[in-house]
Amino acid sequence: MTESSKTGDRPTSHSEPSPAPIHLRPARDADIPALLPLLLRLKRLNEEFDPLLKVREDAEQQARQILKADIASAKAVVLAAEGVGADREKVVGFVRAHVRERAFYAPEHEGVILDIYLLPLYRRRGVGEYVLSEVTNALKAKGAEIVTAEFPSQNEIAARFYTKRGFRPITAVQARSL
């Protein structure tokens, strides 16, 4: 993504502002090398919000195992976002979610959106909407009756995104170092 060539020249297929729609599909094992850097970018971004979200040194290994397990799991959703046109078959983002059981509350099956990441060029109006509706549908198909989203408390962009779409805070997680 950030490789720099000697001359600096590269194709300018998407340098003019234009709608950059994406296409979501279930992720496969073969996507893992492309998904890894995206997942790590997201976690490193979370570090910006709070030092208590400092990324572990072995995060890359962790990420590889988690992606592999989630792609295989019946209780998880991993969707890969592909570009369209010239960027077809290029993974430009992903969404990852789990279906969890709520021990005390009804409805019992909760779909938790854990990660949404899109490369900056693909973050245009409407794309977030599309990602949210696709992952919600996939979670519903796996039995979810309520959908929640986890993100750092300081991430106001995410908070605004979900609030605008009818979400509200239901659980707070607070932390201090020991």
Binding site: M1, T2, E3, S4, S5, K6, T7, G8, D9, R10, P11, T12, H14, S15, E16, P17, R41, L42, R44, L45, E48, L119, P120, L121, R123, I157
Partner: protein, 476 residues
């Protein structure tokens, strides 16, 4: 200025190294001397501006007209129609110079008290160059929200607001919000003034080298307040995004850069421009960006040798180099010329082609105040830039005379009139004058302060400057 005249490419080090250093030393010494004298004179005059009555006061009875009870009727009239405050008070010509002192000159975050002498100086420039009554108003606020709320609360007293010396990137949000909320023009010189003067110089440089903004490859070095707005204005002028490259300390700004997520959070203005330009199709470092480029607009943190002769040599034929960092330009003009630059501009007055925002802001405010404009959209900024560019032609446009200097004041009323015309055309003018009316008015109002200053000096109301005390730096 053909590139064939430049020295061989393998001479890595510019031969003028010695003169460069002494130029830097000379300028430092001069700055020291001016500083000492400025403190001396500030103590002597105890401030640079004061308020002066503009109405006759023949006897104490006249206060019954200017103040209570007479003035109550004026208040009632304005209560019915707040816009009458532009007719019945000095609001039409009064602006606030507001700063939080968070980025004053090259001094950094020095706070509101220390910013006051700078704001007073700016007020003096506003008065003498633009005929504008400007009130220095440093405020002690902690957050952008507090800043915005404070200025909003002050707005009824003013016909315009000049934001000054606010750190980037918070200056973008403050200007954006205040422009939206206030019914009067809001301006931030470090963004708009510098960008307008830069664009004016660039338009003339392109004309001299027979190129159009629609077909050049441009590199902007430094992505602070001025260059981000310059980039926006260039795009509005039709510069293709695909040949516009922004470069910051970490290299070319393109959409794939690792720090883009961080940028979206902390500097969405920079983020948006980077999404639009996406490196102008380039990645890598400054050298990769400049290869084959027509134009370099450098407005970065002052550091010598940021731009090297080999960078300039790698540019397209007849390169245009603006090295605007102050006081030390990114590359010394002589060095850039030797490396083949066809046209060089700096931010300094001791070299030809000074890109100076004092060429812009007094005339812009004259224009928007005379039109009683509600805002300053980019069309107005561009109108000012284009008129400034045209003004250079009066004395003959050349590579040595790219922009008018401060000694060519004829151009200022013309800029004010162009600004007024544009405000009328855009439907944001409360008062729609003709071009000639704007021009005449600007000439009168911009000419008045000089008469005033002379009269005050003649009457000894402004005492002459005391002789300078022998100073340390002078006897060295």
């Amino acid at each position: 200025m053909a590139r064939s005249a430049s020295p061989p490419v393998d001479s890595d080090r510019p031969p003028r190294r010695k003169t460069d250093r002494s130029a830097a030393e000379r300028s430092e010494e001069l700055t020291d001397q001016l500083g000492e004298r400025s403190v001396e004179l500030s103590r002597f005059y105890a401030g640079k501006i004061e308020t002066v009555p503009k109405v006759p006061v023949r006897s104490l009875e006249d206060f019954a007209l200017w103040y209570t009870p007479g003035v109550a009727a004026v208040s009632r009239a304005i209560q019915k129609d707040p816009d009458l405050s532009f007719d019945l008070t000095g609001r039409w010509n009064t602006i606030a110079i507001v700063t939080d002192g968070s980025r004053v000159l090259g001094l950094g975050d020095i706070g509101p008290h220390a910013a006051l002498p700078v704001m007073e100086g700016k007020a003096l420039l506003f008065k003498v160059l633009g005929g504008v009554d400007a009130i220095p108003t440093p405020i002690r606020v902690r957050t952008p929200e507090e800043f915005i709320a404070t200025v909003e609360a002050m707005a009824p007293a003013f016909g315009g607001v000049n934001l000054e010396d606010i750190a980037s990137p918070k200056c973008f949000g403050i200007l954006e919000q205040l422009s939206k909320r206030l019914p009067i023009p809001v301006w931030h010189d470090d963004q708009l003034g510098t960008a307008a003067a830069t664009v004016a110089g660039l338009l003339n440089a392109l004309e001299l080298t027979h190129r159009s903004v629609r077909e050049v490859r441009t590199v902007l070095l430094g992505a602070g307040a001025a260059n981000l707005v310059t980039a926006r204005l260039l795009l509005e002028l039709g510069h293709p995004a695909s040949s516009l490259t922004l470069v910051d300390q970490k290299g070319v700004l393109h959409a794939g850069r690792e720090d883009m997520d961080e940028l979206e959070l902390h500097n969405p203005w920079k983020f948006r421009i980077v999404l639009r330009t996406d490196g102008g199709g380039r990645t890598g470092d400054l050298a990769a960006a400049l290869h084959g480029a027509d134009v370099l607009l450098a407005a970065s943190t002052p550091k010598p040798d940021t731009v090297r002769p080999e960078h300039v040599r790698s540019m397209a034929k007849d390169p245009i180099v603006f090295a605007l960092a102050n006081p030390v330009p990114e590359i010394w003009p002589e060095v850039a010329k030797e490396a083949g630059a066809a046209i060089v501009a700096t931010g300094r007055s001791d070299f030809p082609n000074q890109v100076n925002n004092s060429l812009i802001f007094p005339a812009v405010f004259r224009g928007v105040l005379d039109a009683r404009a509600r805002s300053i959209p980019d069309e107005v900024v561009l109108a000012a830039a284009k008129e400034l560019a045209r003004g250079a032609g009066r004395k003959g446009l050349s590579a040595q005379h790219l922009l008018p200097t401060m000694e060519e004041p004829e151009v200022f009323p013309e800029i004010a009139a162009a600004v007024g015309d544009t405000a009328v055309r855009l439907g944001i003018a409360r008062r729609k004058l003709s071009h000639d009316e704007f021009l005449e008015r600007a000439k009168t109002l911009m000419g008045r302060p000089a008469t005033l200053v002379r009269a005050l000096a003649r009457a000894r109301l402004t005492p002459p400057m005391p002789p300078a005390r022998p100073s340390r730096s002078r006897t060295r």
